[in-house]
Symmetry: C2
Subunit: 235 residues, 2 copies
């Protein structure tokens, strides 16, 4: 399964906020065997959000959208998703009932709080007020991290793919010195290999076969100078 993530917010594009929502979602999806093909940040503008959703629905199996839910003028994500799907916005009775059960009165709620694209499944917000939505292949989640995470867990089972098995080998050599062994390990084993230089070089092996991944990692560990070989250091 291939998906795209659209993160909405001027504050991300101004560099005031680091996009930890995207890395959290990517990690959860990756752990479920899902390939994230794109993460794109767009401004709080309806045409920009709608264009990104439309483009990625076309290309991938699902689109997750986070941010821009709520009562203020810059919260336009739900309306943009409705535009992308060609559906009108309408009040969602179940979302209203949830909020009333949580102690909100209809009169207190900002107008439009429970409006969702027609036919959407409302997603309850355990932490905040604004509901999310699942509609066709689009999942709309809040931007506040605690709200986003809680809501994602409600839909997590919709995302799945083949389990992959990963191993990390940390090499204490310059990346350029490792080229022969990287080429050899890719020829000998049916694994994909990523190479991430920093103060040392983190080599990430993965395949859909646990044994193959482990054999490749063992082969590499014997052949590179490693300070922390076997340490699955993701810092």
């Amino acid at each position: 399964m291939e998906v795209a993530i659209v993160t909405v917010g001027d504050e991300l594009l101004a560099g005031r906020t680091t996009n930890t929502n995207a890395s959290w979602l990517c990690e959860r999806l990756h752990d479920r065997g899902v390939t994230v093909e794109r993460v794109t940040t767009v401004p709080d503008r309806i045409p920009d959000i709608a264009d990104a959703v439309t483009e990625y629905r076309d290309r991938y199996d699902a689109v997750l959208v986070t941010g821009g839910l709520g009562p203020t003028h810059d919260d336009v994500t739900m309306e943009a998703v409705a535009v992308a799907l060609g559906r009108p916005m309408e009040p969602h009775d179940e979302a209203l009932a949830w909020l009333e059960a949580d102690g909100y009165s209809r009169a207190d709620l900002t107008e439009g709080t429970t409006d969702l694209p027609a036919g959407a499944r409302a997603l309850h917000n355990d932490v905040g007020v604004a509901p999310g939505a699942a509609v066709e292949d689009v999942y709309v989640l809040p931007g506040v991290p605690a709200e986003m995470k809680g809501m994602f867990e409600r839909v997590a089972t919709a995302f799945s793919g083949p389990q992959t098995y990963e191993a990390t080998v940390v090499a204490d050599e310059p990346e350029s010195a490792l080229l022969d062994r990287l080429e050899a390990v890719r020829e000998r084993f049916d694994v994909s290999v990523g190479s991430y230089p920093g103060s040392s070089v983190r080599l990430e092996l993965s395949s859909i076969d646990a044994t193959e991944t482990e054999r490749a990692a063992a082969w590499l560990r014997e052949r590179v100078d490693g300070v922390e070989n076997g340490d699955d250091d993701r810092a």
Copy 2:
């Protein structure tokens, strides 16, 4: 000036790495008056990188690309940019001369280390080996944060726009309770307003007129319950 940032790397899409390069670049560009319209993360694949560069060159004034420079099989960014620009890759004499001056011998360097799209201006890497490139409206920077930051400073003056003046008001009220005053401040003053809820609500005002921004912020501060008004808290 409107730009897009393309960050390249499977490790970002797998959630192993948080995209702090993007937030750093966004902040630096924003401080220079440049509007970042898109930040997109793509996998280490030539067609994906080339498509993103092509699409954003079409729409915006410049594209910054970071990540995927270096000697290993998954470092394909420079070639992808050459594809997007329809230019061949060729050895760059000045980049080679820099590396030789830094103590590398041509024989030690991995083949292709100093290959850049034909006609590119090479950007020296103060921290690592792989050179960057400026070619037409595309700027190609490394992914290792220290290398990326150093190289961006070499081209920073290419990015500019109107100075904007910002002020932050932190409100200790629910976002939904603030709607009347948010509407009023937007009507009274020529400012744009962003509203970012968390444990409190951060209201970000901005305009191209310092006095207007300050007047709007002062007006709001008198009218909202604020725990830390005036504190420019970007946490």
